[in-house]
């Protein structure tokens, strides 16, 4: 490999912040075709190709080694890439794209403040309603891992790809696991985060694939880039 490939998020805000982050470090990324074409070019550093990808697809591309570098949220890496530690290095936090992944329940459930409470209520709920307590989320893996770690056993995940906060009111779930920045959407939907319900504090990361082709000049190019970007330990 003689050149490196960077996966750049195709979405507006995350892309702008990424471009600005690189610009501050002397690497200019500009979109081609007046911004309408999904293509971009890097200058200020040699041998770096930029391709645009949906932020949600970047973990998969890093994990498969089809891109050397990528910018995406830690939440997506952990959720979507099984065994991610062996495949991807979270090289540096970029200081934007902050989001907390949290467990929230209806605010009126004043008897439920912790995961232990949720577990007890889940048991009673199943007895009363004949089915397990449902948790709406698109973060299936992180939810499962977190609940297992905290000994919450008797629940069912309901897939929710959007407007997850509305699930309890719509009767499609009793609790939710979702990302939140200010928690104001949760409050507006009469939900409350459990006291021990913080699963992950996520933000955008510059990620390096451990399984991409690092032969030839690729590794030297990474060292040059790391020096330019002032990445620690690289």
């Amino acid at each position: 490999m003689t050149r490196l490939t960077l996966g750049l998020p195709s979405k507006g805000r995350l892309q702008e912040a990424t471009v600005a982050w690189f610009a501050e470090r002397g690497v200019t990324i500009e979109r081609l075709g007046g911004g309408r074409e999904y293509a971009a070019r890097a200058s200020g550093i040699d041998g770096l190709d930029v391709i645009m990808l949906a932020a949600g697809e970047i973990p998969r591309e890093l994990g498969a080694g089809r891109i050397h570098l990528g910018v995406t949220g830690e939440d997506l890496i952990r959720e979507r890439l099984a065994g991610w530690e062996d495949r991807v290095d979270l090289a540096t936090e970029m200081g934007f794209g902050h989001a907390d992944l949290v467990v929230a329940v209806p605010a009126w459930w004043v008897d439920v403040e912790t995961l232990d409470d949720l577990d007890e209520v889940a048991e009673a709920f199943r007895g009363r309603h004949g089915h397990p307590l449902r948790v709406a989320t698109k973060y299936h893996n992180l939810t499962q891992g977190f609940f297992r770690h905290h000994g919450v056993a008797d629940y069912r995940i309901v897939d929710s790809q959007g407007a997850t906060e509305a699930a309890p009111k719509n009767l499609s779930a009793e609790a939710i696991v979702d990302i939140t920045t200010t928690r104001s959407t949760l409050r507006a939907n009469h939900l409350r985060v459990l006291a021990d319900g913080l699963i992950l504090r996520s933000q955008a990361n510059l990620c390096i694939s451990r399984v991409a082709d690092w032969s030839g000049r690729a590794h030297q190019r990474l060292r040059d880039l790391a020096a330019r970007l002032a990445l620690k330990d690289w």
């Binding site: 998969r60 994990g63 498969a64 099984a82 065994g83 062996d86 209806p106 605010a107 009126w108 459930w109 004043v110 008897d111 403040e113 007890e120 209520v121 048991e123 009673a124 709920f125 009363r128 309603h129 397990p132 299936h140 499962q144 609940f147 297992r148 000994g151 056993a153 008797d154 629940y155 069912r156 995940i157 309890p168 009111k169 009767l171 009793e174 009469h190 939900l191 409350r192 006291a195």
Partner: protein, 390 residues
């Protein structure tokens, strides 16, 4: 993305004819012992597994959408559930002995080299009134199978989940506490945390909880709790207000629960830590519980009856290794449990294992728990172990 692991099965490095031969020998043993061959389906409704094991099963089995009604299906992770369901289709209340052989499918941790598909050859003994004899027969037949196709040097571990459950039943404690401990027995760290918390006694309630409990003391408690809840947020969702009221009452009750005496927690821990040759373990359990005045005689008599039955079938039961903590990660068992490992082969999974699962038959729809005990052998692992030892 194609994952390398999906090319890996337990057949690797084994001659296919050798595997077939081993399966035939096991089939012969099972037939000779009066076990009828069943071939249950590979796929069944995931709902069943989710009800039994919760969401965690998704990490261990292959669940996917694909049922005709849009429901999820599960690729069998073992034979027990499919065999028991096949039995139930003809009526629960009749004794039956089944033998099965075929592949099972297990999701593995990322990076694991364990196979996602491997063979099991096993037996299920349902409805046998004499539990000790049935346990002993299933155990002996399984060891016989290992002797036929597996290595000579094996390590056997046994346990009995009926003992800790009987102890929790026998000890004086608030009903809620007993229920919590039973529920989390399968999660040792959580169980330990519950014991510690019970000994410490109730902690100072949070302000929200204090308000909730105070509301119960109002002249109209239901109205007071409703006001308190409505002030916190719009009352929506499937859970109803009266459910919150009953939980609040339980919480108030828990506040009034006396702390667990430290000796009681110590006894529970001591019993779950008993390990050694079965004969000694039994005496130790009798002594421990008698000293503490906890009557679990019935459960220990069952243990003893099983040892007697094993002795009669030619197993040196007194020396059989017993570990009271064994089986705490195997949620569906509730009595005798056992496992066979190849000595010195930490690279191989258990060659065989099984146990008693009466309670699960109720969860699967039996009107009352029916006696059920079964075990399986992993022929590929057994053959690899034999080859390694040769």
């Amino acid at each position: 993305m194609v994952d390398d692991r999906f090319g890996v099965t337990a057949h690797e490095g084994l001659d296919l004819a050798e595997v077939e031969h081993a399966l035939e020998r096991l089939a012969g043993l099972h037939a000779e012992a009066g076990y009828a061959v069943v071939s249950p389906t590979h796929l069944f409704r995931a709902e069943l597994m989710l009800d039994l094991y919760g969401e965690d099963i998704r990490g261990r089995a292959f669940l996917f959408p694909g049922g005709g009604g849009g429901e999820e299906l599960c690729l069998r992770p073992d034979f027990t559930v499919p065999v028991v369901l096949a039995h139930a289709a003809q009526g629960w209340d009749r004794p039956a002995r089944y033998a099965y052989q075929g592949p099972v499918f297990r999701r593995q941790e990322p990076g694991s080299t364990r196979p996602v598909e491997y063979l099991q050859a096993g037996i299920e003994n349902l409805g046998a009134a004499d539990a000790a004899t049935a346990d002993s027969q299933v155990f002996s037949l399984t060891l016989k199978g290992i002797a036929e196709i597996g290595p000579e040097a094996i390590r056997v571990t046994t346990g009995d989940l009926g003992i800790p459950f009987a102890l929790l039943e026998a000890l004086a404690m608030p009903a809620r506490r007993r229920q919590r401990l039973r529920r989390h027995f399968w999660r040792p760290a959580r169980f330990r945390g519950l014991l510690d918390a019970a000994v410490r006694g109730p902690e100072a309630p949070s302000p929200r909880r204090a308000d909730l409990i105070a509301a119960l003391g109002a002249p109209d408690p239901v109205a007071a709790v409703a006001t308190h809840a409505a002030a916190a947020g719009e009352i929506t969702g499937l859970r109803e207000l009266d459910e919150l009221v009953s939980r609040a009452e339980r919480l108030a009750g828990a506040e009034a629960e006396p702390p667990m005496p430290a000796e009681q927690a110590e006894l529970i821990e001591a019993v779950t830590e008993v390990a050694g040759p079965s004969g000694e373990a039994l005496s130790q359990l009798r002594r421990l519980t008698a000293e503490a005045g906890a009557d679990i005689t019935a459960a220990l008599d069952r243990f003893e009856a099983r040892l007697d039955a094993l002795n009669r079938s030619g197993v040196d039961a007194e020396d059989l290794s017993f570990d009271a903590a064994f089986g705490r990660n195997l949620e569906y068992y509730d009595g005798f449990v056992f496992e066979v490992l190849a000595e010195g082969r930490t690279d191989l999974p258990p060659l065989a294992g099984g146990g008693r699962f009466d309670a699960m038959t109720r969860q699967l729809g039996a009107a009352h728990a029916i006696p059920a005990v079964g075990a399986m052998i992993r022929p590929e692992a057994a053959l690899l172990a034999r080859r390694g030892a040769a």
